[in-house]
Amino acid sequence: MAATKGNIEPKKKTPAAKDEIVIHAKGLKKSFGDKEVLKNITFDLKRGENMVVLGKSGQGKSVTIQCVVGMLKPDGGDLEVFGEGVTQMSDEELKQLRIKIGFLFQSGALYDSMTVRENLEFPLTRVLKLKDQAEIDKKVEEVLDNVGLLDAIDKMPSDLSGGMRKRVGLARTLIVNPEIMLYDEPTTGLDPITSREISELILHMQQKYKTSSIIITHDLECARITADRIVVMNDGEYIAEGSWKELQKSDNELVKSFFIETT
């Protein structure tokens, strides 16, 4: 199921990563009351690329991806997804955009009144408007098999462990074949072994479904396994950017403090 077992090397830039930019953010600003959460965020996400945003909690990492899907509206700056300005979109345009973007929440956010099967059927019937039950069943089983949870198809979310919930959440997001995946702290709250499995799964799913991804995390192991490129965020700003190896050699004290554990 997972791409690779054992000691995984930092992810190399994939040949599939073309220079087509799928997300372009320039000078993003966002405040909540007096607190300026995003100060001047500028980044591009290329097609097929995995970008990891690394930083301490409460630095505005999640706010960035919430702006990308239109959950939050930035106070300033430009934000384009597939060349379209997110902030100028109508509700219907935003809905169409969201179909192309998968968002994995920190908790998995499974609908707890539905079984795993119903959770996965939900986007197929409500978003893609599929009617053919045989086709729906096939897709559900296929994506659950991909995350290694076909046996849990008729279980309720309350019967699943934290790692299983994240896998089902990932399956539910991937079932509509999104072009971009946004992961909000995918390994938070999991034990090291399960964290590693989820990180490997993210990498495997990115290769299988050819998605471009932004992974918000403070888990170095997750960043090491999944990242093509890492940006380090502190106090609402990106303070460093580069590959895993480049950042390991960084002179920046804050970046060093992140990598001290692994060196």
Partner: protein
């Protein structure tokens, strides 16, 4: 002090504005197509069938107690034969609908508020929204329409059970056959007793569903917010029931009992 009053007033006005926006979202989504029939049927079952026992027991006791309370007064006036009529008119016009609505406000508004509140806290509503699905249509429209239909139905059933309770209470001291009792009850009621009561319960049901959904859907993110949403849903829905009742009685009196 003045600043606090202004802040409180502004907050209250903003709340009214938010409720208007929420109502317009609900209203637009009724006609947006793709009605969630299976969820609607599930909600009717949860709201209607699962509240039946509670409404039934409460209505039975109220009918029973009302006869026991009314009897001494009416007997002293030599109007004991008016007991079935008095009970039927008071129960169908006022007691039945209000008791059912208050019970439903306690049971349904709180459960909707807590359910949607916990969905908000656990990011399930956000997940629905960012997936491109329509949470208002799936969660809100189905629940509000279900409460608007089930509360009147529960109220009618509650009326019948309340009259049965009254029959049993009447037979403690007097002896009256079931057929004669119900003939007297039904004979004393007419269209103007029944129809306004049913219409008003539709509004009660709407208020219960709307308040429960609004409080839950707009709760803050935090476990404490779930309790606040549930509690606030009950209090606000109960208050709305009395306000709607007062308005409905005025309109009914003007139209039917001039």
């Amino acid at each position: 002090m003045a600043e606090q009053v202004i802040t409180g007033w502004r907050k209250w006005m903003m709340g009214i504005g938010e409720q208007c926006v929420f109502f317009s979202r609900f209203f637009r989504n009724i006609f947006a197509g793709g009605f969630e029939w299976s969820e609607f049927v599930r909600q009717c079952y949860e709201i209607g069938y699962r509240s039946l026992m509670l409404v039934g027991i409460t209505s039975f006791i109220m009918g029973f107690v009302l006869i026991l309370q009314l009897r001494p007064s009416l007997v002293s006036l030599g109007a004991a034969s008016m007991l079935p009529k008095t009970l039927a008119v008071s129960f169908v016009r006022e007691m039945g609908p209000v008791i059912t609505a208050i019970i439903c406000a306690g049971k349904i508004a709180s459960s909707i508020g807590a359910e949607l509140g916990s969905m908000k806290v656990t990011e399930q509503i956000d997940a629905m929204e960012v997936s491109g699905a329509n949470p208002i249509q799936y969660l809100v429209v189905t629940r509000i329409i279900a409460t608007s239909l089930m509360v009147p139905l529960l109220s009618i059933i509650g009326d019948v059970i309340g009259l049965v309770g009254g029959f049993l209470a009447l037979n403690i001291n007097d002896s009256i056959s079931f057929t004669l009792y119900f003939q007297k009850c039904i004979g004393s009621l007419d269209f103007s007793d029944f129809l306004p009561a049913v219409i008003k319960t539709i509004f009660f049901g709407f208020a219960i569903g709307f308040v429960g959904c609004y409080k839950g859907y707009n709760s803050n993110k935090g476990t404490e917010s779930v309790g606040i949403a549930a509690n606030s849903a009950v209090v606000t829905a109960s208050l709305w029931i009395f306000v709607i009742d007062a308005i409905a009685v005025q309109i009914t009196s003007f139209l039917f009992y001039k």
